[in-house]
């Protein structure tokens, strides 16, 4: 029996008057997740393809897979390196998989739990927005973040950054980044410093317990020690400590290709983030304080390290919280890059500025759009006056 037949067979139970009618929004959520819904517009003429927002979200999840798999492998790699153990590829990957999987489960359980509850409570259709956020959240935290912190932060972000604004598509701020920002400000000890970036305990016999091992991220080292780590191709491949999904430029580039190839993300935003960041880093190289190690870091190193690539590809391009106008996307992306490098260089307390830069520009995106609209309106008004 095909999946479609199975869904059709159990469907009557969930419709009005059925046995489980209380759960019809949950059922609807799963049905439309599996199959493009057949609903058509009741008025006017609407033409669109089958690529609805659930399909779009799934595409983003697929694009995240390379970075996620590499992140898992890197968690194992860093742990084995720190413990001084030798392990096969599968041991390393298996260790990382077991370390990351609980985070993914917690993030989805908490986030979807709240979304389903709210949808059920309000009698609305379940929105698909958390599909991507739920995968992003475990990828932008260090491996040492406790699960309960992740759960509290996810609940906070879903309620206060999303549901209070009206749910999926209505949020001002990127939900995954709000989760990270909450952890960053509420529990700074589990997301910054030098003790959280490498897993330090054995899981199911894999790996070993290592006590008191500390290893800061490259940006953390640059911010605190006064000397930036030398350029190293591992910074591109991603064999460095960092948040789970953010380290590998190559894996993120694969995801970027998928996003751009399918047209899900805007190349304008993505490109201008890199241009903005690169330009700002270059400006600091030329005129910055020579004693500031982060200011003197070459521009390509700024772009490769930390969450810059991950933020540019997966966060800045979020269609809900970024600019909607084509011209606005250039401005929005450019300013994200500029602000991210500004924070990194000028605020030693925050070695990584990407999260705050994107959240800040999320706030300004509607304003940028507004002025782009107004500029267009006045341009056309002038043209109309001229032709009279």
């Amino acid at each position: 029996m095909g999946l479609r037949q199975l869904v059709d067979k159990i469907k009557p139970n969930f419709e009005k008057g059925g046995k489980f009618q209380a759960f019809r929004s949950v059922f609807g959520g799963f049905e439309t997740f599996l199959f493009v819904p057949n609903h058509t517009a009741k008025s006017g003429s609407n033409i669109h393809d089958c690529f609805d927002s659930k399909r779009m979200m799934i595409m983003v999840c697929i694009a995240l897979v390379p970075a996620l798999l590499f992140g898992m492998y890197n968690v194992g790699y860093q742990h084995y390196l720190a413990a001084g153990l030798d392990g096969s590829f599968w041991e390393l990957f298996g260790y990382g998989f077991l370390a990351v999987l609980p985070k993914i489960i917690v993030s989805y359980l908490v986030g979807l739990g709240i979304e389903f509850t709210v949808a059920q409570w309000k009698g609305e259709e379940i929105h698909e927005g958390f599909l991507v956020s739920g995968l992003l959240i475990p990828m932008i935290v260090p491996v040492g973040t406790p699960l309960w912190v992740l759960a509290v932060a996810t609940a906070f972000a879903v309620i206060f950054a999303k549901e209070v604004y009206g749910g999926t598509g209505m949020n001002i701020f990127n939900v995954a980044l709000v989760t990270r920002a909450f952890i960053f400000f509420a529990y700074p000890s589990v997301i910054s410093g030098d003790a959280v970036w490498v897993a330090d305990s054995a899981i199911f016999g894999l790996g070993a317990d290592i006590d008191g091992y500390t290893q800061a991220t490259a940006l953390g080292v640059a911010a605190t020690s006064g000397a930036a780590p030398a350029w190293d191709l591992n910074m591109v491949w991603g064999f460095i400590p960092g948040s789970i999904g953010e380290t590998s430029v190559v894996a993120i580039a694969l995801g970027a290709l998928i996003l751009l190839g399918t047209g899900v993300a805007s190349w304008k935003t993505m490109l201008s983030v890199f241009v903005g960041g690169g330009l700002m880093a270059w400006v600091f190289n030329q005129w910055g304080n020579p004693d500031n190690a982060v200011a003197m870091m070459p521009w390509y190193q700024h772009l490769a390290l930390g969450g810059f690539c991950f933020g540019a590809v997966f966060m800045a391009t979020d269609p809900v919280t970024s600019c909607r106008t084509e011209c606005g996307k250039y401005i929005y992306g450019f300013l994200i890059g500029v602000v991210a490098v500004l924070i990194r260089v000028l605020n030693p307390g925050y070695p990584e500025g990407m999260m705050l830069a994107i959240l800040l520009m999320n706030l300004f995106a509607p304003l940028i759009d507004y002025y782009v609209y107004q500029a267009n309106i006045s341009k056309r008004a002038k043209r109309a006056l001229k032709s009279k």
């Binding site: 309960w148 509420a186 529990y187 700074p188």
Partner: protein
């Protein structure tokens, strides 16, 4: 009119609930953010404001027929400033530690919108007894929100209440960490917002009409 007429009791009671200066009129937010990291200063602040609003209301109400309309704001300010100075000196004399914690915020009661709001809106138009009750009501309404906010901020932010540790040590031993965000002013905004959310969800008449 009797002392505890319906009207007078309303002046005392509505600011505690349906016309709360913080959650409904959204006044006095700045000090609500500043002094609520712990319960003790929040309570002292709430009481100070209550005393000052009540006294200022009474004095302005007594003077209201003699104050020229064009200089009424400056007269109100002088009265409030005098009272704030008295309270500030009193705190320095009898509760020095708390007054150090509250630092400039006692002095800044002068600029608390609730004070000028009550003087302008109520004391200038009502008798001294009603004004006194109105001042007590608004001060306590403000204090009530301050205490709720400070309760959650101190509990979640430092694991204490009135400086005594209430979250047991074994929680910390098992990995519990105090929420640092709660010690920052934005947390007070979030908690005030939650209180407003709760109040409006319960009393739908407080919600604006949707358009």
């Amino acid at each position: 009119m009797s002392l505890f007429s319906k009207q007078n009791m309303e002046a005392l009671k509505t600011p505690l609930g349906m016309n709360n200066p913080v959650t409904v009129q959204v006044l006095g937010i700045c000090s609500a953010l500043a002094v609520t990291a712990q319960l003790e200063p929040a309570i002292v602040m709430g009481l100070s404001v209550t005393v000052i609003v009540a006294m200022a209301n009474v004095i302005i109400s007594l003077l209201r027929n003699t104050i020229p309309n064009r200089i009424r704001i400056i007269v109100q300010l002088v009265v409030v400033a005098a009272l704030v100075t008295i309270v500030s000196e009193f705190l320095k004399a009898f509760a020095y530690d708390v007054s150090v914690q509250l630092s400039v915020y006692v002095g800044l009661i002068i600029t608390n919108c609730i004070l000028m709001g009550r003087l302008e809106a109520f004391a200038m138009a009502n008798g001294p007894w009603a004004s006194f009750l109105d001042g007590i009501g608004n001060g306590l309404g403000y204090a009530k929100i301050l205490v709720i906010v400070a309760f959650f901020r101190e509990l979640l932010g430092s694991g204490c209440l009135f400086g005594y540790q209430v979250i047991p040590q074994w929680c910390y031993d098992h990995g519990y960490i105090n929420n640092g965000l709660m010690l920052m002013p934005p947390a007070a905004l979030i908690i005030v917002a939650c209180i407003i959310w709760y109040q409006r969800a319960r009393h739908t008449e407080l919600q604006e009409e949707q358009n």
